[in-house]
């Protein structure tokens, strides 16, 4: 900690905390970064904006020593530095909270916090580590359960552990990759307060986000990357969301109310396509995760599921698609009860599923793009003919899905993990929409996507709705839910707190329900 540096220490003569000068990074066939100049000042929150594949992650991987730049210099506090490994970057006070968590799943929260940390007491016990962790959690105002195993935690809780781990290392430069994606508005505000407090001591924050409003709220300056190059650095005070979106994607973006139906759209059905009653299910830890749920969904309707991540969204999406068995209750799809059926039968009944964690449950990362693209239709013609698998037809289907998803793919035989996260998500979405004749269960379909891709994704969902499918849209973006949903159900600790018609909704009301208050007039509105 360098307490002697005053807050807002951008006085002349003070070197920038981080100066990335002419950074370039090339991968075979790809310019990840080229000629990127970025200055991050002490006491500044500097936002990094850019579409998927714009080079933000690569740039940060260079700054944190994971990659070495092919050209350019990293200058920290006026001294040129080279980081051969992340350890050296951490020693230089650079800490990063990644989008994909770097936690040991089998360890407890306290063990993860103290792992590879020289301040960890040499002789210690679980109780001591947990007490230290609880203290740290209190100091940084991040709620964690010190004794819990990371594998039992929700995505949101895991991220809090990640943030706490980096903050506890006395980082001078904190890099956050989409930190608020799994936080409630209130938690996000807490985080912002902690970040403000952090930079007021002369530290710096690099804040990667797609959420324009949030970037405008938290950052002092904003740098925009596009196709590996820096487009502009602007003072946040001089920016508005429309202008940023335009700089980012190079065109105008309109996020708006999509509830209106075109004349050609199929009308909402009178009978529900999905009826759920008394539905309960267990979580991975064997404890009840869903309690006595009751709701219905009509064909041509979008039911939004609001709530803070980790309140049963994952389990709900899995139960509705047959991946997780229900412990009690009934799921009826188009008049047919699905009791005891598995994921294959749900898919055959016309239910598509965009899972929460695409990389681990929706894709086989080491296998080819073609293999992954045909995962839902490998068992039917034209890919399957009798018991045979037609590689030509599979290749053709993969190209079809890639072109519908608007993803340019140089080589369909390469492992899908080589694609950017955003492109993987688009392929999964398009793949699932093809089989979703009756219902699409979309868990966070726009998580990790940029504004342009989110817009495309939401239009896909509207297109599916207009074609007569029912959509369960699980999202943490209230704006997205308000723009699309006909009704919104709020989930809290595995219970539905109420289902509201999306008509002049009071956002504060939803916020209260997300926090556990039952809606006064809540009831089944189907």
């Amino acid at each position: 900690m360098q307490d002697e540096i005053p807050a807002a220490a951008s006085s002349p003569g003070t070197p920038p905390r981080v100066y990335l000068k002419g950074i370039a990074k090339y991968f075979p066939g790809v310019i990840a970064n080229e000629n990127v100049d970025i200055e991050v000042l002490p006491g500044e929150i500097h936002a990094l904006l850019g579409e998927n594949g714009a080079g933000k992650s690569t740039l940060m991987n260079i700054l944190t020593g994971i990659y070495q730049p092919d050209a350019g210099e990293i200058i920290i506090d006026g001294y040129a530095r080279q980081f051969a490994s992340p350890v050296q970057a951490i020693a230089a006070g650079i800490g990063m909270v990644h989008q994909h968590f770097k936690l040991v799943q089998a360890f407890t929260v306290a063990e993860n916090i103290h792992l590879g940390w020289d301040e960890t007491p040499k002789r210690t016990s679980a109780a001591v580590l947990e007490a230290r962790t609880a203290e740290l959690a209190k100091a940084f105002n991040l709620q964690v359960k010190p004794g819990a195993r990371v594998s039992d935690l929700s995505t949101g809780e895991q991220q809090r552990v990640e943030i706490l781990r980096v903050l506890s290392r006395n980082a001078k430069i904190l890099i956050l990759d989409e930190p608020t994606a799994v936080l409630t508005p209130a938690e996000a505000r807490e985080l912002f307060r902690a970040l403000r407090d952090f930079v007021s001591r002369g530290n710096s924050v690099i804040f990667i986000s797609h959420k324009l409003d949030e970037v405008l709220e938290i950052s002092d300056r904003i740098s925009i990357l596009r196709q590996g190059r820096k487009i502009a650095t602007e003072k946040s005070a001089d920016c508005d969301p429309r202008m940023l979106a335009k700089l980012m994607v190079g065109r105008d973006i309109v996020l708006d109310d999509m509830r209106g139906r075109a004349a050609s759209a199929k009308p909402m059905s009178a009978e529900p396509v999905l009826k759920v009653s008394g539905l309960s299910a267990l979580g991975d830890n064997g404890l009840p995760a869903l309690h006595d749920m009751k709701f219905s969904l009509r064909a041509g309707e979008i039911l939004g599921i609001a709530g803070v991540a980790g309140n049963g969204q994952r389990e709900l999406s899995q139960v509705l698609t047959g991946v997780r068995p229900a412990s009690s209750g009934e799921i009826v799809i188009a008049g047919k009860t699905m009791a005891g059926l598995k994921a294959g039968e749900f898919a055959a009944a016309g239910i598509g599923h965009i899972p929460e964690d695409r990389l681990h449950s929706g894709l086989a990362p080491a296998m080819s793009i073609t293999t992954n693209a045909v995962m839902r239709e490998y068992d039917r013609p034209p890919v399957a003919k009798g018991g045979f698998f037609s590689r030509d037809a599979a290749g053709k289907l993969a190209r079809e899905i890639a072109s519908a998803a608007d993803v340019a793919i140089p080589d369909f035989a390469m492992p899908i993990r080589n694609l950017s996260g955003g492109n993987q998500q688009r392929l999964v979405a398009r793949r699932e929409m093809r089989i979703a004749d009756r219902i699409l269960v979309a868990a966070y379909p726009s998580r990790g996507l940029d504004v342009g891709a989110i817009n495309t994704m939401l239009r896909y969902i509207v297109e599916l709705r207009d074609a007569g499918a029912g959509v369960i849209l699980i999202s943490e973006e209230l704006e997205e839910l308000l723009n699309l949903s006909d009704r919104i159900a709020v989930l809290y600790e595995g219970r539905i707190m109420g289902i509201l018609d999306n008509d002049n909704l009071d956002i504060d009301e939803i916020g209260l329900m997300m926090g556990g208050r039952v809606h006064a007039t809540a009831g089944e509105a189907a």
Binding site: T321, A347, P355, S361, A364, M367, F389, R417
Partner: protein, 345 residues
């Protein structure tokens, strides 16, 4: 100008192949160097190895005799890898197959053709039975197959040793069973018709994996079981089936060894083929057709060892050589992810 080494997230097949070739060449060079230091003439020895294996009709036949079981045990391990299982027990399944084939050949009187068919079926079945417990333990209780398959090798080896020297022993030799009457006919010297059958088996299995619905489901289940479950694939059923198939192939190799090459059951009949098969599969990088080529290569190394022994070298020298190859291949595998780049400053 500054040079820098960096690690890439993936490696290309060409570079991975090159890394393998370099590893093998380096291992041979190191071996040659050690031979030279210990007072041998490596060039002379190499010439001897080549002239009495690749450039000699009898040598080629010897090579084929070693190649066939090695390729099949390699195939067995490689099939297991498709579903994400490491079958370290090909050695034990080989013994089990040889045991069953001998029992059928010795004690079930039948015409030769029928006896051979029964022995073949028995070999497949015995191999599958030998891996049954590890398979069920993995499928239902998530018990690591690495340990369970490995431990059963010792049980099988000792069982075979016991019957070959005990209840089934031949009064003439005392260390092996009597000759099994049914023999697989030979078509070229010591090379019998099991040889083309084995190669055909590898090719057919490779085609099945890449060109059938079942093959797709197996590959997906092996690569990411949770994605396979999400796609509605019965992962456990496939795991059980593929692991049993893996055991059956190793058992079949044992049967061929009895009916085609050795013609009787004896202790140590497996010749470590089950363990060397792991190397064959690793070198083939999970490719079932690749096993044919890496099997041939490992057979050449093993055969060279035998030739070198006739030149006064010990078996340890051969073991060291195979160890070196595996060791350097593993290093080459890792290094194939690295590139040397030049800074443009």
């Amino acid at each position: 100008m500054a040079y820098r080494i960096q690690r890439l997230p993936s490696s290309t097949p060409l570079i991975a192949f090159a890394a393998r070739v370099i590893a093998v060449v380096l291992a041979l060079l190191v071996t040659a160097l050690i031979l030279a230091v210990t007072g041998h003439n490596p060039v002379e020895l190499a010439g001897e190895v080549l002239s009495s294996s690749l450039f000699d009709s009898f040598g080629l036949q010897d090579l084929g005799v070693i190649f066939m079981p090695l390729m099949l045990t390699g195939l067995s391990v490689a099939i297991g890898q498709q579903i994400g299982a490491w079958n370290i027990g090909a050695e034990g399944q080989f013994y089990a197959g040889a045991f069953a084939a001998t029992a059928i050949g010795l004690f079930i009187p039948a015409p030769v053709w029928l006896s051979l068919i029964l022995m073949g079926v028995g070999g497949f079945a015995a191999g599958a039975i030998w891996i049954l417990v590890p398979t069920l333990a993995k499928a239902y209780a998530d018990v690591s197959e690495l340990i369970s398959t490995l431990l059963l090798n010792f049980v099988a080896a000792l069982l075979v040793y016991y019957v070959a020297t005990g209840p089934w022993h031949d009064r003439m030799t005392n260390s092996a069973t009597p000759k099994v009457p049914a023999e697989i006919p030979e078509f070229w010297g010591a090379i019998h018709w099991g040889f083309p059958v084995a190669i055909l088996l590898a090719i057919v299995l490779a085609l099945v994996l890449s060109n059938t619905k079942w093959g797709y489901e197996v590959r997906l289940s092996g690569s990411n079981p949770s994605a396979a479950k999400y796609a509605g694939i019965p992962v456990r059923r496939h795991l059980i089936m593929v692991m049993l198939l893996s055991g059956a192939i190793a058992g079949f190799a044992g049967m061929l060894e009895v009916a085609g090459t050795v013609h009787r059951l004896q202790g140590g009949i497996s010749n470590n083929y089950g363990y060397i098969g792991i190397m064959v599969a690793v070198l083939a990088r999970g490719s079932l057709v690749g096993v044919i080529f890496t099997g041939a290569f490992m057979a050449f190394i093993q055969n060279s060892g035998i030739i070198l022994q006739t030149q006064g070298l010990t078996t340890s020298a051969v073991l060291a050589m195979t160890g070196l190859i595996l060791f350097l291949t593993a290093i080459g595998e890792e290094l194939s992810y690295y590139r040397v780049t030049r800074d443009r400053v």
